[in-house]
C-alpha cells in the first residue's frame, strides 16, 4: 500500500540585497541567475530554493536582509 504523504507548504522567505551584496556579489553563486539579477534590481526575492550553505553565507555577512 502506498504511503500517504501530506505536503506542508513552508512560509515563503523573501529577501532583499544590501548595498554590500551589490558591491561584492558579481555573480549568482548558488542562486539562480534570475534570483541574482532580481536582487541586484532591489527586488524582494524568494530564496527557498537556495542551498543552506549559500544562505548562511549571505545572511551572516549581511549581504541580504528579510524583504517584505
Amino acid at each position: 500500500m502506498a504511503e500517504k504523504t501530506t505536503k506542508i507548504s513552508k512560509p515563503k522567505n523573501t529577501f532583499k540585497a544590501t548595498d554590500l551584496y551589490k558591491r561584492l556579489m558579481t555573480n549568482e553563486g548558488l542562486l539562480s541567475l534570475k534570483q541574482h539579477e532580481s536582487l541586484l534590481r532591489g527586488e524582494s526575492v524568494n530564496l527557498d530554493s537556495v542551498p543552506d550553505k549559500q544562505m548562511r553565507y549571505l545572511i551572516t555577512n549581511n549581504l541580504i536582509k528579510q524583504g517584505e
Binding site: L24, T26, N27, P51, Q54, R56, T60, L63
Partner: protein, 341 residues
C-alpha cells in the same frame, strides 16, 4: 687606501620590464626604456637588502676513493643554474610603484582602476618562455652612488618574477602606514656593473594609513575596530631548464597555487565573538576595508583560525583567512579599488 662604504650608498630602483626592449632573459644592459612606461621609480626603504645568491649554485662534494681529505676538485660548484632572490619591505609612498608591484604579482596589466582577481584570470596560464615579451617580469636595480668607488658595482636583477606581495597595515607600526613586502626571483644571473641609469623622480603621493580606512566590514559586522590587517598574494614561479652556455634559465612557469590569504585583527566584542561559531560552522566571511578611493575586498574569505589575545590593554582577535572563489567556484578572489592618493 680603499674608501669605506655604507649601505646608505645604495638605492633600489624597481619597475616592470618593457618586454619590447628587453625580453625575458635579455642581456640586462639597461636603458631607461627597459622600464615599462618610464616606471623606473625609487623604492625608498629604511635599508636596502642585497640580492641573495644562496640559491644560485648547484653544489656537491664528492670525496673520491683512496682519500679521507678533500681536495679542491672534490668541490663541484655550478653557478648559474639556480635562482636569485631579492626581498623588500617598502613603506608605500608612491602610487605607481604600488601599481607596478600589483601588476607583477597578479599578472593584471592595468592596475590603475579596479583590480578584479577573477577565477578565470587566476587559473589562466601565461607564457614566460625565454625571449618572450609579456611585460610581466620586473627589473631590480640596486644603484650605488658615485662616492666610495662603488659606481661600477650597481647590481641588476632583470627578468625577475614577483612571487609574492604582502600588503599590510598595523595601527602600532609606522603610524599605521601601508607596507608592501615581497620577494623577487630571477633565473638569470644578476649583472654587476655601472648601469648607466638611475631612477626617475619619485613622488610621495600615496601615504595611506589604517586610520584612513573608514569602512571596515568583516563577516557582516560593520565599522569593526581594526588593529591590523594583511593580505598576501602568492603567485609563485619556477625556473625552467636552461639555455645558452652558462646555465641560465630557459624562462619560467607559473603553475603553483595562486593564493590570496591574510589576517585581520579586530576588537574582540560581542559581534566578533560570534566569529568563533562562524569559523566552526565553516561560514565564509566577506571582508571589505575601504576609504573612498582605496579598498581591499575579499568576497569569500574562509576563516582558518580564531586567535584571541586576552591582553590587559584590551581583547583583540586575529582571524586568519584564505580567499576562495565561493560556494559555486565562480566568485572573485579579491577586488582592489583604484589606488588614488
Amino acid at each position: 687606501m680603499a674608501t669605506n662604504a655604507s649601505g646608505r650608498q645604495y638605492n633600489a630602483v624597481v619597475g616592470i620590464q618593457e618586454g619590447g626592449n628587453l625580453a625575458i632573459g635579455g642581456d640586462g644592459d639597461l636603458a631607461d626604456g627597459d622600464f615599462l612606461s618610464s616606471g623606473n621609480y625609487f623604492m625608498r626603504m629604511a635599508s636596502v637588502n642585497p640580492i641573495n645568491y644562496d640559491g644560485s649554485f648547484q653544489t656537491a662534494t664528492v670525496l673520491k676513493s683512496g682519500r679521507r681529505t678533500y681536495e679542491d676538485g672534490d668541490y663541484i660548484q655550478q653557478y648559474g643554474n639556480g635562482v636569485w632572490t631579492w626581498d623588500f619591505d617598502y613603506i608605500v609612498e608612491n602610487k605607481i610603484l604600488l601599481e607596478s608591484l600589483l601588476t607583477l604579482v597578479t599578472e593584471i596589466a592595468d592596475t590603475t582602476g579596479t583590480i578584479t582577481v577573477t577565477p578565470a584570470h587566476a587559473n589562466a596560464s601565461r607564457d614566460y618562455s625565454h625571449g618572450v615579451d609579456n611585460d610581466l617580469t620586473g627589473i631590480v636595480l640596486l644603484e650605488a652612488d658615485t662616492v666610495g668607488g662603488l659606481s661600477d658595482h650597481d647590481h641588476i636583477m632583470h627578468s625577475s618574477i614577483l612571487q609574492n606581495l604582502t600588503l599590510s597595515m598595523d595601527a602600532d607600526v609606522d603610524g599605521g602606514r601601508l607596507h608592501a613586502a615581497g620577494q623577487f626571483m630571477s633565473g638569470y644571473k644578476p649583472i654587476v656593473k655601472n648601469s648607466g641609469i638611475t631612477g626617475a623622480a619619485t613622488a610621495s603621493d600615496f601615504e595611506k594609513t589604517i586610520f584612513s580606512m573608514g569602512t571596515r566590514t568583516i563577516g557582516g559586522h560593520a565599522t569593526t575596530t581594526m588593529k591590523a590587517f594583511s593580505i598576501t598574494i602568492s603567485n609563485p614561479a619556477t625556473r625552467v631548464g636552461w639555455q645558452g652556455t652558462s646555465g641560465e634559465a630557459d624562462g619560467y612557469t607559473r603553475g603553483g597555487l595562486f593564493d590570496i590569504s591574510g589576517s585581520i585583527t579586530v576588537k574582540y566584542d560581542d559581534a566578533m565573538a560570534d566569529a568563533l561559531a562562524d569559523w566552526q560552522g565553516g561560514t565564509a566571511y566577506a571582508i571589505l576595508i575601504e576609504q573612498s578611493n582605496t579598498s581591499f575586498s575579499i568576497p569569500s574569505a574562509r576563516m582558518t583560525g580564531h586567535n584571541i589575545d586576552m591582553a590587559d590593554e584590551g581583547m583583540f582577535v586575529e582571524i586568519p583567512w584564505t580567499a576562495t572563489t565561493g560556494a559555486a567556484g565562480a566568485g572573485n578572489l579579491a577586488l582592489f579599488k583604484a589606488f588614488a592618493g
